[in-house]
């Protein structure tokens, strides 16, 4: 999946995560994570974000995420939504499990 524009999903309210995905020059994912629970779950959230992007075939993007204690399923949903928006793609494959 090719990121072509800025895509955003989620909010910065409690138990949610705001995910912003932008095109990046060159390969790789640049991830900035701000989290209220960075100490305990920072690594886990990052793994979910990267895993979700990988499952969508996104290999190049700038990702900025502001987490307010979202569950993994929420993180995954927000990342997917933001990625589809940033790819201007409406052929959703919601059932595609990792």
């Amino acid at each position: 999946m090719q990121i072509v524009t800025k895509g955003v999903a989620g909010t910065m309210e409690s138990s949610d995560i705001s995910v912003r995905i932008e095109p990046r020059e060159g390969e790789g994912i640049t991830l900035t994570l701000t989290s209220a629970v960075m100490q305990q779950f920072g690594k886990q959230i990052e793994a979910v974000i990267r895993g979700t992007l990988a499952s969508l075939g996104v290999t190049s993007a700038v990702v900025d995420a502001v987490d307010k204690g979202a569950l993994d399923c929420t993180v995954e949903a927000r990342v997917k939504t933001a990625a589809y928006r940033a790819a201007k793609c409406e052929a959703y494959v919601w059932e595609n499990r990792k």
Binding site: S18, T34, D64, V66
Partner: protein, 320 residues
């Protein structure tokens, strides 16, 4: 609590003005979009506005504090801005609120004693600095609006470029001027194409003009103008100049506009502390962008021809 969003109608504006005033904040100018939270009785509990690419007027009542009201408001404003296609957002606040906005995904650009400037991407300003051309030797900079580019600007740039090894010409990217930012930038580029040791670059949103930097959170209204100027200087002298090794700032003398003159005086006072020399170049008599705009309005193209380079003249002739 109920979230309500939309344009800043007259009724909402009055409500927000009163809400801000209760918190010692001053409404200054309008906004494109606002988000408010109301309590069960319909009273304002929190508010925030989006004005161009700037988030402002963020305030929360004591009763709603600690309940994520600010997060709701800022989320809504940020998401709205992205939906509208805005790629880069800014926010200015008092130092005590920096942490709160950092937790909402904003990253500091520059600080003064009274204010912090934040942006919505980490390393945004570092990436801007990295995108600037690199040069050797003594480097100078001038920041120009060029609305439009005249022989006066040309004289300033040429004189400054002769006095140092390399000159950065930052063209303010804000669209509050009479001519669009893209056109102003193009005209500076074309009108200086023969100068080898300069780089004409768009300031993006980093060299913020006084118009876009809201100072509503500054309680001392007399200080507000100074605070804007100091922030602008902190961004230029504290971040951009050291990033590319600029040690001189060139300006033209300002005989007419008191605001610009006060701004220059502030730079004269503050720049040395940043290790930057402030150099004023005497302005060319009788040439001003405002005169060019007046002649254009009156259709006096002949007079314009004597005030601007051929490249600007060709552009203006096409408009007339």
């Amino acid at each position: 609590m109920e979230l309500e969003t939309g344009a800043l109608s007259a009724a909402r504006e009055n409500e927000i003005r009163a809400f801000l005033a209760e918190r010692g904040l001053t409404m200054e100018g309008g906004a494109d979009y606002c988000a408010v939270l109301r309590d069960d009785a319909g009273r304002l509990a929190a508010c925030g506005c989006l004005d161009g690419s700037v988030i402002k007027y963020v305030a929360v009542s004591p009763a709603a504090e600690g309940e994520g009201a600010a997060a709701t408001i800022v989320s809504e404003l940020v998401n709205h801005a992205y939906r509208e296609g805005k790629a880069h957002l800014f926010l200015f606040t008092k130092p005590g609120s920096e942490d709160m906005f950092r937790s909402l995904g904003f990253h500091p650009v520059a600080r003064t004693g009274d204010a912090v400037m934040l942006e919505d991407r980490r390393d945004g300003i570092d990436r801007f600095i990295a995108s600037l051309p690199k040069a050797e030797g003594i480097k100078g900079a001038c920041v120009v609006n060029c609305d439009p580019f005249t022989l006066g600007h040309r004289y300033l740039i040429e004189t400054a470029a002769k006095a140092c090894d390399f000159l950065y010409v930052f063209v303010v990217s804000e669209d509050a001027a009479h001519f669009p930012a893209k056109d102003r930038y193009e005209l500076v580029k074309r009108g200086t194409a023969d100068l080898a040791n300069i780089a004409v670059v768009q300031s993006e949103d980093y060299l913020v003009s006084r118009a876009t930097f809201p100072a509503y959170f500054i309680k001392d209204r007399v200080r507000a103008e100074d605070v804007r100027t100091e922030m602008d200087i902190a961004v230029f002298a504290g971040r951009i100049a050291p990033g590319v090794g600029v040690t001189r700032r060139y300006v033209g003398t300002e005989p007419y506009c008191p605001v610009t003159r006060a701004y220059n005086e502030k730079m004269r006072e503050l720049l040395p502390a940043y290790g930057i020399e402030f150099i004023e170049i005497p302005r060319k008599d009788g040439i001003s962008a405002s005169a060019v705009r007046r002649f254009l309005k009156e259709g006096r193209l002949g007079e314009i021809e004597t005030l601007v380079p051929p490249t600007t003249y060709a552009y203006l002739k096409n408009l007339a």
